[in-house]
Subunit: 780 residues, 2 copies
Amino acid sequence: MTKHRPPNLAALDAHWRAANYLSAGQIYLLDNPLLTEELRPEHIKPRLLGHWGTSPGLNLVHTHLNRAISERSLDALCVWGPGHGGPAVLANSWLDGSYSRVYPDVGRDAAGMARLFRQFSFPGGVPSHVAPETPGSIHEGGELGYSLAHAYGAAFDNPGLLVACVIGDGEAETGPLATSWHSNKFLDPVHDGAVLPILHLNGYKIANPAVLARLPEPELDALLRGYGHEPLYVTGSDPRKVHQTMARAMDHALDRIAEIKRTGVRASWPVIVLRTPKGWTGPAEVDGEPVEGTWRSHQVPLASVREDPEHLRQLEAWLRSYRPQELFDADGRPTGQVLACVPDGERRLGANPHANGGLLTRELPLPPLEHFAVPVDKPGATLHEPTRVLGGLLAQVMADTAERRDFRVVGPDETASNRLGALFEVTGKAWQAEILETDEHLARDGRVMEILSEHLCQGWLEGYTLTGRHGLFSCYEAFVHIVDSMVNQHIKWLKTSRSLSWRAPVPSLNYLLTSHVWRQDHNGFSHQDPGFVDHVLNKSPEVVRVYLPPDANTLLSVADHVLRSRDYVNVVVAGKQPCFDWLSLDEARVHCARGAGIWEWAGTEGRDRAPDVVLACAGDVPTQEVLAAAGLLRRHLPDLAVRVVNVVDMAKLLPREEHPHGMADFEYDALFTPDKPVIFAYHGYPWLIHRLAYRRTGHANLHVRGYKESGTTTTPFDMVVRNDLDRYRLAMDVIDRVPGLAVRAAAVRQTMADTRTRHHAWIRDHGTDLPEVADWTWTG
Amino acid sequence: MTKHRPPNLAALDAHWRAANYLSAGQIYLLDNPLLTEELRPEHIKPRLLGHWGTSPGLNLVHTHLNRAISERSLDALCVWGPGHGGPAVLANSWLDGSYSRVYPDVGRDAAGMARLFRQFSFPGGVPSHVAPETPGSIHEGGELGYSLAHAYGAAFDNPGLLVACVIGDGEAETGPLATSWHSNKFLDPVHDGAVLPILHLNGYKIANPAVLARLPEPELDALLRGYGHEPLYVTGSDPRKVHQTMARAMDHALDRIAEIKRTGVRASWPVIVLRTPKGWTGPAEVDGEPVEGTWRSHQVPLASVREDPEHLRQLEAWLRSYRPQELFDADGRPTGQVLACVPDGERRLGANPHANGGLLTRELPLPPLEHFAVPVDKPGATLHEPTRVLGGLLAQVMADTAERRDFRVVGPDETASNRLGALFEVTGKAWQAEILETDEHLARDGRVMEILSEHLCQGWLEGYTLTGRHGLFSCYEAFVHIVDSMVNQHIKWLKTSRSLSWRAPVPSLNYLLTSHVWRQDHNGFSHQDPGFVDHVLNKSPEVVRVYLPPDANTLLSVADHVLRSRDYVNVVVAGKQPCFDWLSLDEARVHCARGAGIWEWAGTEGRDRAPDVVLACAGDVPTQEVLAAAGLLRRHLPDLAVRVVNVVDMAKLLPREEHPHGMADFEYDALFTPDKPVIFAYHGYPWLIHRLAYRRTGHANLHVRGYKESGTTTTPFDMVVRNDLDRYRLAMDVIDRVPGLAVRAAAVRQTMADTRTRHHAWIRDHGTDLPEVADWTWTG
């Protein structure tokens, strides 16, 4: 056992009291920050907002982390799960000077303290939660469940980093957190950093006891050991004793971590269980009801301070109980004792560059796409699985980052199923548990991460990219909805970060959505949902980007783009099944740069003839059906001028004022015409196209086909027929909508209708698609 | 210890072999179901789909549940978490005759067996997963994570029911499942049934080992004990021995459950850990690679049976290894030995009425709304918190179901915060863990359920309503996105159920979304997201309903409606903050029945004068702002004819062909006019209104204001100003859009713009809203 200097308990306690004072001050005080005069109602904020309950515990953790960092010269981050305890983290950041570093107008003096107090939860000020505005944070803590996953994400491939993570007992009840404990089976003691979870059991949520806090001690102990941890308990309400126990536990935990990292084999990692009263050191009783140590201290324990002199008196007594005059000098600066254990410079939790990860980001080495592109001499002559082609590119990036280790691919057990198996030629799947002889591709140091939890995939990758590294999440399209709410929060984080000059841009969070709605031959209805695009496009346009590459080379070009980008959430939808190659790499690059364009070779409009109709498409399957429909029309109605438009970048359809990628009206009209019928075959819910294009001149002529929740276990072509997205239906739509065509082309239309009828009979009898569909190729 | 009859091992094994045979047959055979002739390629399906890997384990569980049910005359359900093992559950349902009961064309004979095989995963046939089409099921198992929550939902308030639940080791990695184990802290041994989890560790997911399967045994044991369970291990690959161990474990578990229920106090509930090989009894090796006992048996172990004679030979040997001639007579009927342990009638897992819960549903006793309505003599004269008013109604329903126990309210720790505290006067919060003196409203038999996991709230309520009982999920609006994907699956379930004549309608799943986007004074940006409505409205129109009641009485009327309804997902968005009362109960009823209507008293159009402009609104805060805007216009531009339209039922805006509630065009035009400007103030993302109304005649004149991701911790009025939804902005929109008004009303418009400027300065200085806004009331 390592010998440690005995902790300077007086200094620890002074720092803790200072942080507690500053936390309460933020919730209550508009003025008189140092209590230099008697507290009066006008010193109190008109709206009392904030969460006191968790703050003293967070302050204790921060104080003791400060000591450990200073003593051991640790490179450390902390993820504050109870992020609604914003006052605590802000208080500590102000104390160590990292707050004033990025916000010089909030200096470490009396005027700065006054500003710190006033701005908290004040309109135009700072949010009451830990947020992007908070120095040292990579985690909002507004929506609960993701702290531990973020902590692990930050630790992967950062072998020198310690990531502490405070988990509130409310958050511990969430599903994502409950499975996040298993992340330790994916943490390589050699190539990754360490995570030190601190389970803060203060006993209550908003209105109820917390489940883990009320387990019999042996049950909780078994649970944590079952999660692969060695619990260290810090329990009490006497600050002096708790400081001692906490210092000892922290030392024990850090010694143990050092030992595990030294030996390099998976073992039980330490977890600290901190049991202290909710609202500790706050008012014990208010209006005759117990407050400290109960759920009543969750938010603002004294609610009527401006109106009720007794509450005001209680508040003043409470604030003075920290003895502010011992903690701050006359100018409001923290005393030497308060700062005795506080680390310096980038060692400060509020100033560690990993928490402003863009500072550490290196450009990803992206190889020339020519090495992976498929040759396309003429459109539609060959087939490739787009994601398998992408797999080649990703594998090369993985190989080229073997030393740097700043690129990971995550997914719920589907990397190979999604045809990205080439990755396994250059890296393995991260795995620290037992490995058997029959296993393939498992590796202690693998940088592909698979677990059957979309929440963990998302949380890990968020933590990884927010600390400046690169990655991709490949996911079944339908099940990415599992992380809808996490994506919301990440987009909000990025939106706010972009407005902060001191936050460096971080690599984008990139989704590859595959095994999509049109090819759920195995799984059917439950696996069919293309609505993630709708969800994402509700969010801040400065952050969200959606791409639907129609073939292998366009997927490569899109991938190259998103992997270079910063501060975005990029959604790429692409199939894994064999798909016709339409564009050469050069054509793909041009097409992707434009985001949407006319495919002249697929249509029949002449140079001097305006189109009679536009067949538009977005997505690989709709593109195939549109080209097949165009072929049918060319054959049966050769004098009809058909234009084919393909859209890769969905935001192009939005007006320029609504999205940075949006087309100007004249551009939109040049593609889609202001007045001709447009039949738009879209990968997802058809009304999304209307929602994007409703302001356009030709909107009344826009007719969209897409997925309308008509799904089951069936063949690919039957799926498009069921949803009226098939080539015959599209061609019939054209005939129905081009003025004057209905009569002239009645016989042609009937042939198409008959083919659809034939399809229904054929599939009922054979269980396969019509031969003419199964064998179809584009003939130009 | 109870003495049990020794199990009839030969009968158990015969049943198990029969189920295995039928499972494999479904995956492979198009014909020759009884192998009466040598297997030829044309007997094989053209597309081989399905999941073999988990099927033998599921069959084992089903076989042993059959025995236990028969011996003990149990009333039992089983939730099959690995629901992609559809062949197994279908096989068992066919064996016990419950399949033929609902699908008489699939009889329990050779012809029926042939149909059973052919229809599986065949276009137009049945899905490869357990699904609504599967008798005895309340759980799809397509998206993983919810089996155990569903099982608990089914068990609540069903004291005589045993709910077995098979959890695959893949599913066990998901977050929702990981926290579902804690459901036992909410299960009352007296008033609830029992849940018997069976953790099926077959070792692998699609492509990887599973985490729990690779834990050292003591770690797994600790984990399950930590979850509050007593593990019983059934491990092996020798069927004879496994049958013995499994029978013993099942007996032990059921004895233990009986004992816990007898004593009525929380204790460690049993869990069976079943460790058998993946793809057990299937091909040991294929093409030189090990298959049985590895991830390679996850789906179709022999993939090229039609093409490769060696695969065909292997398949035949595999199928014959079950000795079908001993299991089925010449007519294809299961032999007496196979059926020896199979229960009869409603005891069969495929025929238990709880799994077709609508059969057991009783009308909820809904009291007259008059008892709870707020008196409204004139609009806008009084304020009430709508959800508090609703709380009175819910409390009465709770009281009136005290004996029946078929109504529950779930929510993530927010029932009181959402102002539904009246419930606690008549019931408690379910809680089986320790209760302290300072706790309030905790009760062993409480029917309000609070846990900080939206996943559990949703999963419990799904299980509860699918077994025929009633309930409400009250949730912070932003965080209901956490269950987006679960809602998808539930809607898909209901959509399919509705098409099955034998499935009785079940009570709807009802959401109360409150603490909504406009009133996140405390929490700010991370708590602001009104997009759930968008998400839900993408889904099957026959299932989804969305209501935005603008005040207390309309909320009552909507609640009464949704609580009576069946087979819907009803989303109700309503604030908890004081809100003006606009409508009397009678008016509210009429308004809700119409779904949208003109509020004549709020507008200025005369009987003989068409409106110049329509001010439309949906949602409580937009309604308030629209009425304030109407008041401003009335005062400043008295000769302008303004119509005010309020929309409660969002689907009204859709065309009649798109949703059963949709308005015909003439109705829409009668409300909104075909040609006047419409300024629509909407609660959520503004483009939703366009997506609903884009086909309407007057769509080009529709201008929508709503939430545009501009959020922070601020005052209510500042929120609407930031998002351009405030009364001044709306009034300015009117001036800008009514032809000819811009010049005439320039001065008025300037006053409004100046007020907005004044607002910005005031809030910066005072942190509160302008007095004229804070003190505003409707003056008619």
